[in-house]
Amino acid sequence: MSEPMVKAEGVHKRFGRLEVLNGISLEVKAGEVMCLLGPSGSGKSTFLRCINHLEKINSGRLSVDGELVGYRETGGKLHELRDSEVCGKRAQIGMVFQHFNLFPHMTALDNVVEAPVKVLKLRRAEARERARELLAQVGLAEKADSYPAQLSGGQQQRVAIARALAMRPKLMLFDEPTSALDPELVGDVLDVMRQLASQGMTMIVVTHEMGFARGVADTVVFMDAGVVVESGKPDDVISNPQHERTRTFLSKVL
């Protein structure tokens, strides 16, 4: 338990001339829930995408479960991982997107079954059984044979969570999972995430849901302009922010 699940040291990311991440350092312990707050463009989503190597970092060190993201270190030298190795790493990290990104040509069940069968090489019958359990867990047992277009946004996002969980990830990344939802559908998705947190899943959540951050997060990190402005226990950061930037942001969203 001593090794943190995610460890970032001075992570920089540039898009052309634009510095999106300007030296991010933080740690997430196993079983911990971290909420990333901050205005749009502050680099929260980019940081999340760096963790499963959807984006390549330009400098600094970023590791998941004690292993560097995207590189292997031998003899003090960094070697880029091959595509298949990157895929193997990503398979252990679940990700949930703002716009769900379910596969529209597959039923809810097939969305959940696809990767376990094709990537983990599970037998289809076994994968289907597990997929049904997961859909039941997110409250959508009876929607297994529906196509994404026939589901509401909240239902789609819960299928997307089940799809990510089907890979038995050791870490779950949520990129604004409720931002694209109608207000009355947000609750169902947050309930599923709350339940997941109580089961001990390590989670990093980019969100604007202050209630969720306050109630569920072990750590809250406030980011702005590519740096961590402050971090700490949710009550400290949200109720008693130390920095002016945090205070102005919170006064707008609370």
Binding site: S84, C87, M95, H105, A115, K118, A149, R163, M167
Partner: protein, 311 residues
């Protein structure tokens, strides 16, 4: 008026449907009458003009030489489309490759084969043996493993398939590429986040969705191919048109045999239309909340006042 609201709620559950006098559309009836009149005039002239010699058309409709031509045309279309689709997918994936040499090669291929007329390409492939009398397959500048005489290898069927298929590949490449880039990037990202490789993502996630965009123009391409296959008549290959030409060069019933050929082309393209309808429905799965209205509903909708009813 609160009393009205309570009244309607206390009614027998469902309110009555509106009964109104429909709007008259005299313009629709007049244009319909004009179209009908012209149609009758055309049919009358075609049926009564003795020079059409319909009995001769009927006589040759099922002539074994014509039926053989129909079979060759179908074979040519199927094989050339397979070459075209496989080549097109390959060229499209090459076109999207990060390697500039690979995408450049694809660009040059498409530029060349779309930039020269199909008829010229057919003639060119027919005379290729003048350029390369011997065909050797092997390591470039190294030893060759397969030797063949171009004239005996390049039979009319192979020349036709090469010419039609390689030309088609260039057009299919653009169609497939358009399909691939029409798929939202989030789909590839979601697949990547699940640990799926690029190839697996392409095969299981991107291409099945791209099919919805690829299938309709591919149907058009198949119909074009069926008709363009008549161009290989210039290299004396006995597909449908050349079979008809061979007959009328002897009996001089030119118009009648062209009508026979047209009849069979129409039959074949009609079959393709129906096939395309079902394939499109198959790949449209999951993209609409309700099943799309079929052809039947569209026709039944004619004459009802609402939008889109009038053709």
């Amino acid at each position: 008026m609160p009393s009205e609201a309570t009244e309607s709620q206390e009614g027998q559950g469902r309110p009555e449907d509106i009964k109104a006098v429909p709007v008259r559309h005299p313009g629709r009836w007049i244009t319909a009458a004009i179209v009908l009149l012209i149609t009758v005039a055309i049919i009358n002239s075609v049926a009564t003009n003795p020079r059409f010699e319909w009995s001769i058309v009927g006589q040759y409709l099922f002539d074994p030489r014509i039926l053989h031509g129909v079979r060759i045309t179908i074979e040519l279309t199927v094989v050339a489309m397979i070459v075209g689709i496989v080549g097109g997918v390959l060229l499209a994936v090459m076109r999207l490759s990060p390697n500039p040499l690979v995408s450049g090669a694809s660009w040059v291929y498409i530029w060349f084969f779309r930039g020269t007329p199909l008829l010229v390409q057919i003639l060119f492939w027919n005379y290729i043996s003048a350029l390369y009398p011997k065909i050797n397959l092997g390591i470039p500048f190294g030893p060759a493993f397969i030797h063949a005489d171009a004239n005996s290898l390049l039979k009319p069927f192979l020349v036709s398939v090469l010419a039609l298929g390689l030309n088609e590949a260039a057009y299919m490449a653009e169609i497939v590429r358009a399909g691939i880039i029409s798929v939202d990037e989030g789909q590839s990202e979601a697949a990547a986040s699940l640990g799926m490789s690029r190839l697996l993502t392409m095969r299981r996630v991107v291409l099945p969705q791209a099919m919805r965009v690829i299938v309709p123009p591919t149907g058009n391409e198949t119909i074009s191919m069926l008709k363009n296959s008549s161009l290989v008549s210039v290299i004396a290959y006995t597909e449908l048109l050349y079979s008809a030409q061979l007959i009328y060069s002897v009996n001089y019933k030119t118009i009648q045999l062209l009508l026979v050929a047209s009849f069979w082309y129409l039959v074949m393209t009609s079959v393709l239309y129906v096939g395309q309808y079902f394939i499109e429905r198959r790949f449209g799965r999951g993209f609409s909340r309700a099943e799309q209205a079929g052809m039947r509903e569209r026709w039944l909708g004619f004459g009802r006042g609402s939008a889109g009813g009038a053709p």
